[in-house]
């Protein structure tokens, strides 16, 4: 096979990694920032270093705000519409179908977890549950109690935590 094919393979891998980094920096330019309320803890994962586990208020969705399919499959993609209320973003409504957010609103994609019928809550995961920090500084976050997380959301759906206080 021609040698150029080899350089294409390597080039694609190079571009992929550069693209991963670039698309992350692009969120800063094109994304919208929102603030979310949370509580942290500190476990370990073999494939990563240290990170703080974050749980968000908006991950527990009241049944009266849930639309669409009432019994989604765990792990499926759901859409959550958020609106700014008193400094932090709160859930307006959620569904397994897409929303058209009006001004002042933001739509996040999340993974559906389970339905808690006792408290009539739909539990979802935004994939923002991990905030990576430098080795062995997790304690500091764990003791700091409830925090405000600033998240930037890009128009293409990618989101990142920009600040943790």
């Amino acid at each position: 096979m021609k040698r150029i094919f080899f350089y294409i393979i390597v080039g694609l891998q190079f571009l992929f990694l550069v693209g991963m980094a670039a698309s992350y920096y692009m969120i800063d330019y094109f994304g919208e920032t929102i603030k979310l309320e949370t509580l942290p803890v500190d476990p370990q994962d073999i494939f990563y270093g240290d990170y703080v586990t974050l749980r968000y208020e908006i991950e527990e969705i009241q049944a009266n705000k849930w639309g669409g399919n009432e019994n989604p499959t765990s792990g499926n993609r759901v859409y959550v519409l958020l609106e700014n209320k008193e400094g932090a973003y709160q859930v307006v409504k959620a569904s397994d179908e897409k929303f058209q957010p009006s001004s002042g609103q933001v739509m996040l994609t999340a993974k559906y977890k389970y339905h808690d019928s006792i408290n009539s809550i739909y539990q979802v995961d935004y994939g923002l549950g991990r905030y990576y920090i430098e080795d062995n500084t997790g304690q500091q976050y764990e003791q700091s109690g409830e925090m405000i997380v600033t998240v930037a959301v890009a128009p293409w759906g990618q989101k990142k935590i920009t600040d943790l206080k």
């Binding site: 393979i9 694609l12 980094a21 992350y24 905030y131 990576y132």
Partner: protein
């Protein structure tokens, strides 16, 4: 037959004047030299790759983000390009090792970049990208080392997906079927066959659990593998596929011997009519293939695929299946004077006896008596089987000298 033994034989023939010098070298030439050095090299490259991964990871937090990206990219491109140069101009094994390290740096790069930039995955996407890069490299170089490394990445990715996301990743399964399937079929190399079959079994087990189906669906996936193996005329596919599926079923039978007597376990098993329908169709197909190939005698292998879960005394039936299979292989081995089959059958038979003994006698016998008697039974069995085997070996040798 391997090259060395055929060379010895051919030299004898030449000395006896049956063939001439040219014919001898022609015969020997038909058996290519086997290159097994790459296996060690694969492991060497794997270790160095892991070392690189852990070293960078442990010093990671002291480097700024742009620096981290630069390290990953420079190392990756450096290993790839030097690997390519060395492979072309100097040494293939060394070049390949460098290329494999490059592939590892790329894999580590995806994870580390993901960590640096807070990437969230809903599936084992990094493994998919990584595996695809490996497949492309394999397509380019067509070297076994890259096949081994890539299929390991694919399979580990599927298992990782199962543990972390409790889900089945179809894309990785497609990579196995389309990319590795293509080369396994066309190259028909035994190593590829075994690796493909193992990955197929592991991935379908993940599939079964991810969909919450009953575990015994593994009989179906194993039967598919067995059927494909039986249908293929290529040694490099037929044997590995059948061996791996039979091994999986042998292990399942062992599991059944110990679990199907347990009423708690029996109550937890559900009946799935879909399974029975699929199983019957596949079983008939496999039998037809066996008959069409005129391997009726080998149909005894299919006994391992019987779904005893649904029957009462499943544990005893599983035990009988193991005995039927082992004795079947043993007898076929004697009949065909196939040395390998006899060894395999002997081994399977000893294991079956041991299991039957453990299962039946453990509860009733005094513990020290249990071990004594077990030891004696195994000793007698191995003595008898070994004697029979030696007799046959003598016969075979005698036949050659006649």
């Amino acid at each position: 037959m391997n090259r060395d033994s055929i060379k010895k034989e051919a030299q004898k023939w030449q000395e006896e004047g049956i063939i001439n010098q040219q014919q001898m070298s022609q015969i020997v030439g038909r058996y290519p030299k086997r290159d097994r050095g790459f296996l060690l090299l694969t492991f060497a490259a794997l270790f160095i790759g892991l070392g690189f991964l852990t070293f960078i990871a442990s010093n990671w937090s002291f480097i700024p983000q742009i620096g981290k990206m630069a390290i990953i990219l420079i190392f990756m491109v450096g290993f790839y390009i030097s690997g390519e140069q060395v492979y072309r101009n100097k040494s293939k094994p060394v070049g390949l090792s460098l290329l494999v390290i490059g592939l590892f740096v790329f894999g580590a790069g995806i994870f580390l970049t993901g960590q640096m930039y807070n990437y969230m995955y809903f599936q084992a996407t990094p493994f998919l990208i990584w595996a695809l890069a490996g497949v492309l490299l394999f397509v380019f170089y067509q070297h076994a080392t890259l096949y081994v490394v890539s299929i390991v990445i694919t399979t580990v990715g599927q298992v990782y997906n199962a543990f972390v996301y409790s889900d089945f990743y179809f894309m990785l399964f497609l990579v196995l079927l389309l990319a590795f399937g293509h080369y396994t079929y066309h190259r028909a190399r035994r190593l590829y066959g075994y690796l493909f079959a193992c990955s197929f079994m592991i991935q379908t087990i993940v599939l079964i659990f991810a969909f919450g189906s009953e575990y015994y669906w593994v009989i179906v996936s194993s039967l598919v593998l067995y059927g494909l193996g039986s249908a293929s005329n290529r040694q490099g596919i037929s044997r590995p596929f059948r061996h791996v599926s039979l091994l999986a079923m042998f292990i399942l039978c062992i599991f059944h011997i110990f679990s199907l007597g347990n009423s708690y376990f029996l109550n937890s098993i559900g009946f799935e009519s879909a399974f029975l329908i699929v199983w019957i169709i596949l079983f008939i197909l496999a039998s037809i293939i066996k008959i069409m190939k005129k391997e009726i005698i080998n149909t005894i292998e299919l006994v391992l695929f019987l779904p005893v879960v649904y029957l009462s005394f499943g544990d005893l039936l599983a035990m009988l299946m193991l005995f039927a299979f082992s004795l079947g292989i043993l007898l076929i081995g004697y009949k065909e004077e196939n040395y390998q089959k006899i060894t395999l059958g002997t081994f399977a038979f000893l294991i079956s006896t041991l299991l039957a003994y453990i299962h039946l006698a453990w509860a009733f016998l005094n513990k020290s008596l249990f071990f004594f008697l077990g030891g004696i039974i195994l000793f007698i069995l191995s003595f008898l089987l070994e004697r029979k085997r030696r007799e046959l070996k003598k016969d075979v040798k005698g036949g050659v000298n006649e």
